[in-house]
């Protein structure tokens, strides 16, 4: 028990002292996750909308694929993106590997199915009269879709929250595509994995606490936006 108590004390000291490594890992985690969720939302929300309200061949197959992609292990996504952006890959010329940009690409891929699927579910669960009502009141198809989004905004916000939770807490993509480079691509999760493996339990615990605090703060902000 002393061991855990000491770890808590050390973690508090690290947080209060604004330890450079801790701050760097927090900043990298949050910035990469925020960019990833913005990109994933820009792609995933229209994708979910299109699948939900569109009628096209293989629709069921697309939904099944989307469900499958939600369960995709982060290391598999990391591996696939690694193959694409590594020097031998088709996008190797951009020199993205082991940069925050590579992590953003990987985490965006990770979050898109989550955002799209939650969006799809929220629209499927929405009142079926929304679109016809908007249309018959003279709204254009685009205006009607915007009204639909407005009506299901809580569900879409939940999609974004779920996607953010997934990307900020993942290790595989950040490790494989970022390379866990100290002060550059080291995130809270990769730092926790590394420090714990080195026996630096307190440092790992401090980062774990911060990770939870950041997740709590982001969710509070998003919940506040939901209430408005």
């Amino acid at each position: 028990m002393d061991f855990i108590r000491e770890s808590f004390q050390t973690s508090l000291t690290l947080i209060l002292a604004l330890d450079r490594d801790v701050v760097s890992a927090v900043w990298t985690s949050v910035s990469v996750a925020v960019w990833s969720i913005i990109l994933a939302s820009l792609i995933g929300i229209p994708l979910g909308l299109t699948i939900a309200i569109g009628n096209f061949p293989l629709k069921r197959w697309v939904i099944t694929s989307l469900n499958t992609l939600m369960a995709m292990p982060t290391v598999v996504i990391g591996l696939v993106v690694y193959g694409i952006i590594s020097r031998q890959g088709p996008l190797g010329g951009f020199g993205l590997l082991f940069t925050p940009s590579a992590m953003i690409v990987g985490q965006t891929v990770l979050a898109i199915p989550i955002v799209a699927n939650y969006t799809l579910s929220s629209i499927k669960g929405a009142d079926q009269r929304i679109l016809p009502t908007a249309l018959t009141l003279g709204a254009s198809p685009l205006q009607s879709v915007f009204q639909l989004i407005r009506e299901v905004r809580f569900g879409i916000m939940a999609a974004v929250i779920a996607g953010f939770g997934r990307v900020i807490s993942e290790v595989g993509v950040a490790m494989m595509l970022g390379g866990n480079i100290q002060g550059y691509t080291r995130t809270m999760t990769t730092a926790i994995a590394l420090e714990t493996s080195k026996g630096e339990f307190a440092f790992g615990l401090a980062l774990g606490g911060i990770l939870m605090t950041v997740a709590l703060m982001v969710n509070l902000i998003l919940n506040f936006m939901q209430q408005r």
Partner: protein
């Protein structure tokens, strides 16, 4: 004069079942039509087709003499002239004012004109002071009146009402009925579906009777008969039922 909306050889199926099959149906401007028929007779299907929300599998629709091609841009323009109030109208989340303003905003109305139109429409349904009330605080009858105000705000040429008086309290029913009866005089064509056979006596509209997805032909009328000479229970038969030989 062209019919406001003319349907020719229209058919809509649900699987193997025919939901609606009409040879010819013409709606003339500034009239009030009462659409009746038992459950499943095709009333809602017809209203959805008239509202250009449902495309029939077969047949042709003409609006003011122009053939409807069902292209997206054309539909957007026509839907600004035709408005349907559903049987259980959906009110968008927000205030009464937000809802009534919706169709106006879609038509680019803003500022003082928007505020004035919203206020006028709410006054028409007797809900003058309800502008800032949240729609969650409305009774069923009030919600129906808000939906009617919302539909009227945009001043449609053709107003379609799917059982507007179903499950409505007496006070709201009187307000809605009086308002509906006054609309043709203002130039709005109204098609209203109902189960209440006596409603036509009060409103003085022209009857369209559907049965099994088809127009009923009381007294053994045939398709090519000039309906202007026909009487149904002593009242002239609806010009909407003018059936011509294609």
């Amino acid at each position: 004069m062209n019919a406001q909306l003319l349907l020719t050889s229209v058919q809509k199926c649900y699987g193997n079942k025919i939901g609606l099959e009409l040879k010819k149906l013409a709606l003339w401007p500034g009239r009030l039509y009462i659409l009746t028929g038992p459950n499943g007779s095709g009333k809602s299907t017809l209203l959805n087709i008239l509202a250009l929300l449902t495309k029939p599998e077969r047949g042709e629709l003409m609006y003011a003499g122009e053939r409807i091609t069902w292209k997206s841009r054309e539909l957007s323009l026509l839907r600004k002239k035709v408005t349907l109030m559903h049987q259980s109208p959906y009110l968008f989340a927000g205030t009464v004012s937000d809802n009534v303003a919706f169709g106006l905003k879609a038509r680019g109305v803003s500022g003082e004109e928007l505020r004035r139109s919203v206020a006028e429409s709410l006054a028409m349904v007797g809900l003058d002071s309800f502008e800032e009330r949240n729609v969650t605080q409305l009774s069923g009858g009030e919600a129906r009146r808000v939906a009617l105000a919302r539909a009227l705000a945009a001043k449609p040429e053709l107003l379609l009402l799917d059982e507007p008086l179903a499950h409505v309290d007496k006070e709201s029913a009187e307000v809605i009925e009086k308002l509906i009866a006054s609309l043709p005089a203002r130039g709005t064509t109204v098609v209203m579906s109902t189960h209440d056979q006596h409603q036509n006596d009060r409103l003085g509209g022209e009857m369209i009777q559907l049965h099994g997805g088809r127009l009923e032909q009381p007294f053994g009328l045939v398709d090519n008969l000039d309906t202007s000479e026909c009487k149904v229970n002593g009242a002239p038969l609806c010009p909407a039922l003018k059936m011509h030989i294609a």
